[in-house]
């Protein structure tokens, strides 16, 4: 269970404090539910994901993670360019408590197998294309066991064959654990999510059915 309590967020800009992006978001997200996050550009979807993932801290309010939550996948970050794919994988394994030789080898083997990078797995990540990076990131996040996975457009990268593989793996994850995702394609959201959160003007609205969230979102952009 993730408890988001009266979260306000604004960013510091070079010209002082920016506008309030989240204005008092209060949510309780159960562990076993797959939730899609919808809202127009700049509504604060990625901001909310980062807050839930603990990568950023709210300006006011609190986020409580009462379960194991992944880092925001497809975040773009999380890979050190100067290190090889394998070294990055080792780093993340150690970080998550799999530093032992055997358990780590198991994780690395899984990641290497999933990412299908071939010999590039031992090349520095800065030489990767964006598709290769997302293959690695996807493999990384699926190698570890979380109660809730956070995905920020993680499914949209890669070529057709990888997208298929990623979607299948994602579906299995969604069946087994919770999922909080941002995606701009409605098809993706329908495919993976049951519930929805609609972010509008700094407020979050929970819907038990993703269709209702999408409907509200569509209505809001057709008016504007």
């Amino acid at each position: 269970m993730i408890v988001v309590n009266d979260v306000h967020k604004r960013y510091q800009t070079p010209h002082g404090a920016g506008r309030w992006i989240l204005k008092g978001v209060t949510l309780t997200i159960p562990t076993q539910v797959s939730v899609g996050l919808v809202g127009r550009n700049g509504a604060g979807k990625s901001t909310l994901l980062n807050l839930i993932g603990g990568v950023d801290t709210p300006t006011r309010g609190s986020v409580e993670r009462r379960c194991r939550v992944s880092w925001p996948m497809g975040y773009g970050g999380g890979l050190q360019g100067s290190l090889t794919g394998r070294q990055n994988a080792k780093f993340v394994s150690r970080l998550h408590g799999f530093g032992g030789a055997e358990t780590m080898a198991e994780k690395i083997a899984y990641i290497e197998d999933f990412a299908e990078l071939g010999s590039s797995f031992d090349e520095p990540v800065r030489t990767y294309s964006s598709g290769m990076k997302s293959r690695l990131q996807f493999g990384l996040s699926l190698a570890f066991d979380f109660d809730v996975y956070i995905s920020d457009e993680a499914t949209s990268a890669g070529d057709a064959s990888f997208r298929k593989k990623a979607a299948d793996a994602f579906k299995r994850v969604a069946d087994r654990s919770g999922l909080i995702m941002v995606a701009h394609s409605e098809g993706t959201l329908r495919q993976f999510c049951q519930a929805g959160i609609w972010l509008n003007e700094g407020q979050a609205h929970w819907f038990d059915d993703i269709e209702d969230a999408l409907k509200n979102y569509r209505d809001s952009i057709s008016i504007a």
């Binding site: 801290t57 100067s82 408590g97």
Partner: protein
């Protein structure tokens, strides 16, 4: 927890201490790999810099027909001063860049900016110690006496030096992130420390009315103490003392940690 997962999944959330240990372990190995294999022969350069420096200074000193400085064997004296100073410099300069170099890894909430600074400082201190020991052993092959006269004091002096460098590194890591220009400026401002710490000349040679100024610099204390711990007969500058060295370390580390805490959110910002 789901039992269908690959084996080895921790059953309960880890406590903060074990998370921090895991982070330090992962960061340490990541930093070590980057430092030692970033370019071809990176590790050769790391060793070669102080060696060449020491050889050059040794040549100067011996051409001037000096075999001893203030009662000490000049070769050992130079190696202690130069490697000691370079280690200090590496610790605070590399610590300064630690936050920026690891920005990508803040995507994992377990990694905090302060971890990167502490781990980098630790790695540099360890590298410095290894180089120092290797160089001393090389000197031993040439017939120099390298066994410290007061080993406990040598250890304390080295720890004190590293602690001061960590404190300054912590401070600089925050300052240079908040004000990037200040970072560039400090590299330039800290250059004279090479001389002011007495890496290549005995501080006891400074006339007494200026010496007290020189000893506001904690590294002057540290290097002088390190040297005097090695030689049974060494005319160290009397101002050097452990009290100032560890006092400076405690204050600078405290201030550095306070700044890191105060600006933790800002340092993390992508």
């Amino acid at each position: 927890m789901d039992s269908a997962q690959p084996s080895g999944a921790p059953l309960a959330p880890r406590n903060t201490f074990s998370v921090t240990l895991a982070v330090w372990n992962a960061l340490f190995l990541r930093e070590a790999v980057a430092r030692l294999s970033a370019t071809r022969g990176a590790w050769v350069l790391i060793v070669l810099e102080p060696v060449l420096h020491a050889c050059f200074m040794l040549l100067l000193y011996t051409v001037l027909r000096t075999r001893s400085v203030a009662g000490a064997d000049v070769a050992v004296w130079l190696v202690l001063g130069l490697t000691g100073y370079f280690t200090v410099q590496n610790v605070f300069q590399r610590a300064m860049g630690a936050v920026d170099a690891n920005k990508a890894l803040f995507a994992y909430r377990q990694v905090r900016p302060i971890d990167t600074v502490i781990v980098r400082a630790g790695l540099e201190a360890l590298l410095g110690l290894v180089i120092l020991v290797v160089l001393l052993i090389v000197l031993a092959f040439f017939g120099h006496s390298i066994v410290p006269d007061a080993p406990m004091e040598s250890i304390l002096a080295f720890i004190g030096l590293m602690a001061c460098a960590l404190g300054i590194g912590l401070l600089l890591s925050v300052i240079s992130e908040l004000i990037p220009e200040a970072g560039n400026l400090t590299v330039f401002l800290f250059r004279p420390l090479y001389f002011l710490s007495g890496a290549i000349f005995p501080l006891s040679a400074i006339s007494i009315q200026y010496r007290e100024w020189a000893f506001y610099n904690p590294f002057a204390h540290g290097l002088e103490l390190l040297r005097s711990s090695f030689f049974p007969v060494y005319h160290a500058a009397p101002e050097a003392n452990f009290k100032y060295l560890f006092g400076f370390a405690a204050v600078s580390i405290f201030l550095g940690l306070a700044l890191q805490m105060r600006f933790a959110r800002k340092l993390r910002a992508q």
